[in-house]
């Protein structure tokens, strides 16, 4: 009772190899598809806005735009790395608040130089980030829960230092990061220039050093990374320290923008930063992402919001477009991933 022996072509689990450019490169393309699309979208938006309101492409309009991008993008650098490792940091709003109020109070109460407050802010930010990092890396608790908790604690700390509802009469010691003439060189806001330089350094570090690549490996598979000799825990902690540190710097940028500081200085910033990161193509699942994309994401969000104002629409409408941008950006990424899996 032997069944008929059927012969056929052998199964071919191997998909067709995809065409890759023949030239031998040292590394994969420095710019991802998502980033090119973002550059294109931003360019189109700028042209459309320029056509509808010619005032858009003037220094008066672009300088505040870039100034507003700076704090979000600079914190986004750290957040990108955190998300690459497979984590998340909700507590940046709290860290911003603590750093901003310390800086503002110090400026009001003492005559200090810009370097002192800058170092202080960065130091406090790094310290708070270290608390997050240690709890997450060594406490074996999910990052989102720990940072939800520390958000509350940091906000309490900030409010304690605040005392009153606002800090006013902040001297212009930080003017070099501000929106005024002192905050620009050749028309470029310093805060934005610093952000770009830091993003470039982070981009190089993530791309060209072993330490930088290890963040990606951890996000891909923490256990396999440990077996391959990556020191997983210190590296995870370092991502949160960096985010805290940059939140300290971002707080200085925010304080510099106005002579009064309100308690809501950090409110909603954590979500704005995360939005910039995911629009920039960093995968929330970890293992993949780029600082350049985050910078572009922050730029896109700010372009949309200043565009909405320029067009005379209600300013809150910009959030709707931010939501749509997130869905489109991540949706495109999901489709690409699915196509890639099928091609294999």
């Amino acid at each position: 009772m032997s069944a008929p022996t059927v012969s056929g072509p052998p199964p071919t689990p191997a998909g067709e190899r995809r065409k890759v450019t023949e030239r031998q490169r040292i590394l994969p393309s420095p710019v991802t598809g998502q980033e090119l699309v973002l550059i294109g979208v931003i360019a189109v938006l700028w042209i459309v806005l320029w056509l509808s309101t010619p005032a858009f492409l003037t220094a008066n309009s672009l300088q505040p735009l870039l100034g507003a991008v700076a704090p979000i993008a600079v914190i986004g650098i750290g957040m990108t790395i955190v998300i690459i490792t497979g984590g998340i940091d909700i507590s940046v709003s709290g860290i911003i608040m603590v750093c901003a109020v310390v800086v503002a109070k110090t400026l009001v109460d003492y005559e200090t130089s810009i370097w002192v407050v800058l170092l202080m802010s960065i130091g406090i930010g790094a310290l708070l980030g270290l608390i997050n990092g240690l709890l997450i890396a060594y406490g074996r608790v999910h990052a989102i829960i720990i940072t939800f908790g520390t958000t509350n604690i940091f906000q309490w700390l900030g409010l304690q230092i605040f005392g009153g509802n606002t800090v006013s009469g902040i001297p212009d010691t930080l003017a070099t990061f501000g929106n005024g003439a002192a905050g620009r060189t050749w028309g470029v806001p310093h805060a934005f220039a610093i952000t770009v330089v830091l993003a470039a350094i982070a981009w190089w570090y993530l791309r060209h050093t072993a330490g930088g690549r290890h963040y990606f490996a951890i996000g891909g598979d923490p256990v396999a990374a440990r077996l391959a000799g990556v020191r997983v825990r210190p590296r995870i902690a370092s991502a949160y320290v960096l985010t805290g540190l940059l939140a300290g710097l971002g707080a200085c940028f925010l304080v510099a923008q106005s002579s009064t500081l309100a308690q809501n200085v950090g409110t909603g910033k954590e979500l704005a930063v995360i939005a910039a990161v995911v629009i920039g193509g960093t995968s929330i699942m970890g293992g993949r992402g780029s600082v350049l994309g985050t910078l572009l994401g922050a730029l896109l969000v700010q372009t949309v919001s200043s565009g909405v104002t320029q067009l005379g629409w209600p300013s809150q409408l910009s959030d709707l477009f931010v939501g749509i941008a997130i869905i489109v950006a991540v949706g495109a990424d999901l489709i690409r991933e699915r196509a890639r899996r099928r091609a294999r």
């Binding site: 071919t12 998909g15 990606f216 990374a225 391959a228 091609a343």
Partner: protein
């Protein structure tokens, strides 16, 4: 390696195993599933520690207590599942954790040069050095893991079933690589189920059975059949008495030329009411994917599934269930268990509509009594149906997952690897249950890579090889015949 033993609790995984590998040769290690090959390899590669025995390397005794030790000695292992980071490039994957550095940064030029060398050795294009691993095919990924193993200047390379997921052309490339390696003095330990390919590549063969090494022979003294005989030993498989099934009945389940692109093709098998048919294939033969199609998890793109002679196409597990098909998934932990939930939860989870009263109200009394009945019937060892399944032994948990399929008596029951990771006692009981179900008229299709099991409980064994059904054996077939057919003994033909 000599006198190696290893126990896991009460289970003796290997005892007194000896393995002598000469430099610059390909040494095949063969044995049935569970014969102890993987454990022996794990000990050699430092993933496990031996209880007794010694390992000598180049004549000097060494102790391997960690994966790092093995790598330092130059022993590199390539496992079946490529353990790679899909978002990183090939070059990065190969050098992760031991990057070549130049002034703080990774020396891409030096690293890539080394990688290109390895890629050329493996017959992969140079440009793959900077390709992202996730973009490569599974076969290419496996070659990358071989490259990764070689990058550490290995002198002993262990390949665990490398050919299981490769096509014939890719296997040829692999063999080329292996030959080139051995010509440079590297020893290769080659584990494979496809015995026919050993004759192309291996020089010596060590056969394992029941945790012990039987001996080592030069390949020239062996044939596929003689290897199979050594693997199986003199054990006679006692089939559970004579079960007669009226072959004139219309098959309850029939797969006719079923195919899914890239996985399997032209699969033909028929199961009559009351019959137990085993679908037996080695790892990578495509046998495991067939079950998922019958149950509506995956779709098929050619052929048809017939129930009682009528063509059906299960769209979803729910639909398959409505058609009267039950399925026990192969991977108990990943596909079967709701680990921190109770036994009753695990049993009723597959048949919630049955327990839903008005507005989906859960009839808990009914759930309890069904769970208790099945616990008793399947002899699940537990104080109550409220225990979480995660705390149970493999055998007991498997019985609970099986119980889920028996809540509504299915007309067709597909069992994928029903006794994998189950202790001997529970295995006996699960076999008894399967036979009982068939006696009551269920058509049972057992999809398994456990040959003694297939021969023991099945009325007919259908062999799957290279993604398709090839030969069929009756209950009186011997292990040697079936294994030879499954492992590709083309010289003698099959029964």
């Amino acid at each position: 390696m000599s006198g190696i033993s290893k126990r896991y609790g009460a289970v003796r995984a290997i005892r007194n195993a000896d393995l002598d590998v000469e430099a610059g040769t390909v040494h095949a290690l063969v044995g049935e599933n569970g014969a102890g090959k993987s454990t022996l390899i794990k000990i050699l590669s430092g993933a496990e520690r031996a209880d007794t025995g010694s390992i000598e390397f180049n004549g000097a005794p060494v102790s391997i207590t960690s994966a790092q030790d093995a790598i330092k000695l130059g022993i590199a292992t390539v496992y079946q599942e490529p353990q790679l980071f899909s978002e990183l490039t090939v070059s990065e994957n190969i050098f992760l954790g031991r990057e070549l550095r130049k002034g703080g940064r990774i020396d891409w030029a030096a690293q890539n040069a080394k990688v290109v060398e390895l890629l050329e050795l493996l017959g992969l294009p140079r440009r793959y050095a900077t390709a992202v691993v996730g973009d490569l095919s599974i076969a290419e990924q496996q070659q990358v893991s071989i490259a990764k193993a070689l990058a550490g200047d290995a002198t002993v390379l262990i390949l665990d079933e490398p050919s299981a997921i490769l096509t014939d052309a890719e296997i040829e490339v692999l063999f080329g690589v292996v030959r080139r390696l051995t010509s440079t003095g590297v020893s290769v330990i080659y584990i494979s189920h496809r015995l026919d390919e050993l004759f192309q590549i291996a020089e010596t063969v060590t056969v394992m059975r029941d945790g012990a090494t039987l001996g080592t022979w030069p390949i020239s003294e062996l044939t596929v059949r003689s290897i199979v005989e050594k693997m199986v030993g003199g054990i006679l498989t006692e089939n559970e008495g004579a079960r007669t099934v009226d072959q004139s009945l219309t098959p309850r389940l029939e797969l006719s030329d079923l195919g899914r692109r890239g996985r399997f093709h032209d699969v033909n098998v028929a199961v009559r009411p009351g019959e137990i048919v085993a679908l037996y294939g080695l790892v990578g033969s495509g046998v495991s994917e067939i079950a998922a199609c019958i149950y509506g998890i995956d779709s098929y793109d050619s052929g048809s599934i017939l129930l009682d002679g009528a063509a059906v196409s299960p769209r979803s597990p729910r639909h398959a269930q409505k058609l009267g098909i039950g399925l026990l998934p192969a991977n108990r932990k990943a596909q079967g268990m709701f680990s921190f939930q109770s036994i009753a939860f695990n049993i009723s989870a597959g048949h919630l509509p049955l327990f839903g009263g008005f507005a989906g109200w859960m009839e808990r009394a009914k759930e309890r009594s069904v769970a208790r009945d099945l616990i008793k019937r399947l002899a699940v060892k537990t104080p109550s149906e409220k225990q979480p399944i995660g705390a149970m032994s493999g055998g007991n948990a498997q019985k609970v997952v099986l119980a889920r399929q028996l809540v509504e008596r299915p007309g067709v029951l597909v069992l994928a690897e029903p006794t994998q990771g189950v202790d001997v006692g529970a295995k006996e009981e699960i076999h008894r249950i399967i036979t009982e179900l068939a006696d009551e008229g269920t058509a049972v299709l057992v999809v398994t890579s456990d040959l003694p099991e297939a021969l023991r409980i099945a009325d007919r064994v259908q062999v799957v090889r290279g993604g398709t059904t090839t030969d069929e054996f009756g209950p009186d077939a011997t292990q040697v015949e079936v294994l030879a057919a499954a492992a590709g003994d083309t010289s003698e033909g099959a029964a």
